[in-house]
């Protein structure tokens, strides 16, 4: 079934550790996004990529980095995790730029202790 996969499903991480959240889509969408979802704050955009080889900063990029080496993969890296990065992370993709329908992955629940 076409869609977006994310890994891991959940993770508990010690503060200061490095962590990469994986995201893969098989819809050949050009644009991909990373959001974090926190209670009462909705979804906030961390980073985005409008096409392979390009990335941009969203609303809350600090402490996160991304890369887009190919169309399908868009990993999110926390170089040195902090407790405030405890959240649910959703990867999304859209055929073109952000004003088109975005399709969401199942999410990764990350806890930083």
């Amino acid at each position: 079934i076409a869609g977006i996969t994310q890994a891991p499903t959940s993770q508990i991480l010690a503060a200061g550790r490095r962590m990469t959240l994986r995201c893969t889509q098989d819809m050949r969408h050009n644009a991909m996004y990373w959001y974090r979802q926190d209670l009462g704050l909705g979804l906030r955009l961390i980073h985005y990529s409008n096409t392979a080889g390009t990335t941009g900063k969203g609303e809350v990029p600090d402490g996160y980095s991304v890369s887009r080496a190919n169309t399908d993969d868009f990993p999110l890296t926390l170089a040195s995790a902090v407790p405030s990065q405890t959240s649910v992370y959703f990867c999304a993709s859209s055929e073109l730029a952000a004003n088109n329908e975005q399709f969401f992955g199942p999410g990764t629940r990350l806890t930083v202790l």
């Binding site: 999304a92 952000a98 004003n99 329908e101």
Partner: protein, 110 residues
Amino acid sequence: AQSVSQHNHHVILSEAASLELGCNYSYGGTVNLFWYVQYPGQHLQLLLKYFSGDPLVKGIKGFEAEFIKSKFSFNLRKPSVQWSDTAEYFCAGGSYQLTFGKGTKLSVIP
């Protein structure tokens, strides 16, 4: 900066009641508006979208939304809710990057 605001944090309804969730946007340029639904423990799914044309948009599961340009609004409606509509609803919009509202949690009591 563009913004999307949702009026209600938590709405509680009995089955068969009518639903209206408010959403206002604040940005210029091309108006693209969406309503997403997130069922408990699941990811976001698209309910409906508005790009242009008929301001009354029909989506899945009996939901509809009306774009009112003069009020900068895009309210979500359903004539008769079911217990299975219990979920969190997000309005989103943007002329380039999408901005999401903070969400409205809907609880439907059987």
